[in-house]
């Protein structure tokens, strides 16, 4: 029971709290885009912190865990951006609370009716 195990466990716990809040966000948020904000972003930090915490507990795995975190940091925005773009283009509606949508004019300009 070294000191670093305690620190790592606490970091993992904080990461799990963010994971939980992100998942709560995708249940509570009103439309797809807000769900994406809560779901795939808040969980990114949760994921990174949980992996880092496990790396602190077991320092021999730190390099591999940092590699996993790096891949998550590179690939996650790519996939969520692609998903948001094609969802907006194929007409997934925005929630009623939406303040404004300046993307609509761009789509009309290009001749894609959402």
């Amino acid at each position: 029971m070294g000191n670093h195990e305690m620190i790592g466990a606490v970091v993992t716990l904080v990461g799990s709290v963010f994971l939980f809040l992100g998942a709560l966000g995708i249940v509570r948020m009103p439309d797809l885009y807000n769900r994406m904000q809560a779901g795939t972003k808040a969980t990114t930090l949760g994921n990174l912190m949980a992996l880092l915490g496990i790396g602190i507990i077991h320092p021999a795995w730190l390099i591999k865990l940092v590699l996993i975190a790096l891949f998550v940091l590179i690939t996650n925005p790519l996939s969520s951006h692609a998903l948001a773009r094609s969802a907006r283009r194929s007409g997934v509606p925005l929630a009623d609370v939406t303040v404004r949508d300046e993307y609509e004019e761009v789509l009309v300009e290009k001749g894609i009716e959402p």
Binding site: R28, M29, P30, A42, L45, H81, V97, T98, E104
Partner: protein, 166 residues
């Protein structure tokens, strides 16, 4: 000359990735990794990122890149706490909307990194990129026009990326 430098940059990066994945510095691993890295670098010789790699070794760009990484991580943490607080608030205080912002960056790789950084910070999500404007979904719209939105979202990242890539 440019292709040779690009080839070596790709080779070194791939070999470092291989060694990080296997996790030891055994001569056998280095030999096998070198063979695979040469093969991949030859196959991918025309790909982006492999050309003009030496200019990234300029000390000013390197230092800016090293400062940029903690800045990005800090803004991820900051905005994450913000979004998490919005989620657990029972009244769900969001004012979402899609806004357009301008970017001064011209280099495609710089634009890719900018769009990725904006997407990585919660609260903002890049929906589309057309010519020199980005369309961004924002959980809490605080700006009334395009200049204000640009100032709030893009300028912080752009300051660094301009030095690193342009």
């Amino acid at each position: 000359m440019r292709t040779i430098v690009g080839f070596f940059a790709a080779f070194i990066t791939l070999l470092a990735l291989w060694l990080a994945l296997v996790g030891n510095l055994d001569p056998q691993e280095i030999a096998a990794g070198s063979i695979v890295a040469v093969a991949v670098a030859v196959i991918a010789r025309g790909a982006p990122f492999t050309g003009r790699s030496l200019r990234f070794l300029h000390p000013r760009r390197l230092v800016t890149a090293l400062v940029y990484i903690p800045y990005l991580l800090w803004s991820i943490v900051e905005s994450n706490v913000d979004v998490a607080l919005r989620v657990i608030d029972p009244s769900l205080p969001i004012r979402p909307g899609i806004v357009r912002v301008r970017t001064r960056l011209k280099n495609p790789v710089a634009r890719l990194v900018l769009a990725n950084s904006i997407t990585l910070t919660p609260g903002t999500l890049t929906v589309d990129l057309c010519e020199d404007e980005l369309c961004i979904h924002w959980v809490d719209v605080q700006a009334r026009n395009i200049d204000e939105a640009t100032k709030k979202i893009v300028t912080g990242f752009e300051r660094f990326l301009e030095v690193i890539f342009e």
